[in-house]
Symmetry: C2
Amino acid sequence: MSIQSAIAELGKRFGDRVQTGDSVRALHGGNESYFDEILPDAVILPRSTDEVSEIVKTCAAHDCPIVAWGTGTSLEAHALAVRGGITLDFAEMAAVLEVNQGDMDCRVQPGCTREALNTELRATGLFFPVDPGANASLGGMAATRASGTTAVRYGTMRENVLALEVVLADGRIVRTGSRARKSSAGYDLTKLIVGSEGTLAIITELTLRLQGQPEAAASAVCGFPDIDAAVGAVQAVMQMGVPMARIEFLDAECVRAVNLADGREMPETPHLFLEFHGSEAGVAEQAETVRDIADEFGGSAFDWSTDHQVRAKLWHARHNAYYSVKALRPGCRAVTTDVCVPISALAQAVRETADDISQSVLMGPILGHVGDGNFHAALLIEEGSAEELAEAKRLAHRMAERALRLGGTVTGEHGVGMGKLKYMQDEHGDGWQLMATIKQAMDPKGILNPGKVVEVN
Amino acid sequence: MSIQSAIAELGKRFGDRVQTGDSVRALHGGNESYFDEILPDAVILPRSTDEVSEIVKTCAAHDCPIVAWGTGTSLEAHALAVRGGITLDFAEMAAVLEVNQGDMDCRVQPGCTREALNTELRATGLFFPVDPGANASLGGMAATRASGTTAVRYGTMRENVLALEVVLADGRIVRTGSRARKSSAGYDLTKLIVGSEGTLAIITELTLRLQGQPEAAASAVCGFPDIDAAVGAVQAVMQMGVPMARIEFLDAECVRAVNLADGREMPETPHLFLEFHGSEAGVAEQAETVRDIADEFGGSAFDWSTDHQVRAKLWHARHNAYYSVKALRPGCRAVTTDVCVPISALAQAVRETADDISQSVLMGPILGHVGDGNFHAALLIEEGSAEELAEAKRLAHRMAERALRLGGTVTGEHGVGMGKLKYMQDEHGDGWQLMATIKQAMDPKGILNPGKVVEVN
């Protein structure tokens, strides 16, 4: 069997670093989605790009699938070895290699997590802004084109990865892009590989853009009478060009969850959580502008604060919202959805989704990065209930279809993985076949994370 | 002959819209680079995406090259039909199809120029920010990943094209991306095609991101004792996070040219031209911050103004700088260079380039979009002088090598075309072969703008 012969060959080279024990395989066979666990045949923790290249060459010679693994926080089963094979866990390639303060960029290995990077950057006055919530690996974040609460200001991984080093399906090591801020020198291979979920190449190093710590930061919370008012305020804020650092929506049910978990007493209506970055005067001006807009849309008392503790508590509550929501139904599992639509369609998309969920037996609080038009419902189901899982899938399916109907995308930031594969044809039409053409050209044997993003024969 | 049979076949369908006269071919055979003119065999002005698809299918059946044409303002001979064939001139596909004020985006046809779009947008309070100087077509700007003076604030075509409609090499029509602000739904085909210079697909429609007109704008001019001081100030401004709308460098010789052409009396030392966008208070704060930084670097009296006429005159002078520089040597031709390096290497790159040029017989004023690390030298040669052309090429070659040595790129915004093809191997290594792999997969017959960006057998 080709996978077994690859493992045997790798064993000769890497000895017991080729791990085939049940526990390590089980650790790399689980996931945060509703898909069942699927164990890889072996796990290796490479220590260098050259080792990755060697492993890929061996796997290529034996037609053995390879799945890159960061922290396992993917929500769409990206890293499940659906065709078996070797999982490459980047835990031992997790270093910050270089920080260039003058250029506000850095080089990191793919296993480095965003929190580890930001800890390393603490003394420099710089930070890495992309924040998907989980303390994910930067390689995984690039592979899924992750974003999160700060994308409205600082962009997604698409905008923040300047260059990559990758290993191709035949083991060649290639550097894409450079540290120059812009270039017109040929096809943008960096942007092609960001978001390709390990199916085109394996990321072994990232050059990331960094941001200066803002001179001042402030946060605010504001309640609205209904979804339309909250989303209308968001649209007006974005049109005014206020450079929001964060503008997060929580529906009434989500607010209830946060109240319960955090001991807050927000009225149970849709809310916005906001953050402003800039100079002290700039932050004050932004906050006052947004307060005026919120007033027009019937917003509640709008208190903004630059107090570090107030801000930290607020964003802790937001980051924890996923767990707070799960706590609404103890022992449940959350089926997480992720759509993104043009801002003009956002109110309709959120309202229709909320109506749909309200008619279901399931709870499904809605929260989102609404400055980008991106939102999630966390559909709470009883662990092990096939009936409730089917109902969650039905609701999620209707959300995806609604997003496409409104000119949006079935995944704003979680990626395709296995969960969104079935929508790719509808979203991209012949563009999906074009993706398969590119996949076949770059990975003719189909060994890189097979079964994800595209379908090839 | 395959090209002639394609023309005959197209003639049956399009009649005398297939133009083969000398004058129309000559009009599409010239270019703004130092390459000699090369005439296409025929020119067609398509009127719809379906027509483009039909033409491509016919050309594919006859192995006939196709070159897309916008306004002919390319600086690297992108649109020369080096293997003959058909030039598709998009002059009749130049409409603004839709403006979505709520989403701050629009759909345009590829022949629409940036000035035409901004004229159309005038009443909306929105504008399209990418400004390469020339009144280029938006299709051409996307194809070359153009940028210009405002990229430091608003990004390049890479950041401002949200979605495309393209015709593939087999005639299939594909839509890439959507109007959603972000997506993780598979490979980023939009970003792959932006910058591909008509070699992977033909752009037939663009969805572009728009910006709100700033509430206030101010401009400023500041002289510095030397290159290091001017570039040092730029670096400090960028590190402070001042959201510069424009930050342009002109060396002493360039300042002399602008003085002569515009009747200004700036001291003949390196200068920065600056623009600030924001609220009234924000603009004032930005300008004061930059004034303080300029002071530290020995900057001259730093006057900033929100007066519309003062601003318009300044940017007119900057936009005209290319012609002002050419006027330093009447009747000359300018060989334009275009490198981009990490900001920390910018002072060295500019200084070494200026030293190099000062030791040459040629004049070569330097100017650039230094907030991005991007700059140009306009090397002035006598029209028809082989000796001076060789000297200009020698200087340009040393600039390109210097940029690569300093971790940069041989083209920040002009593209590869024919002029930069010889550096692709050095800049990308095996990444260039990967580009060829993608080209061969997407255009197996090699009919789309052959001879550009990649080399395939």
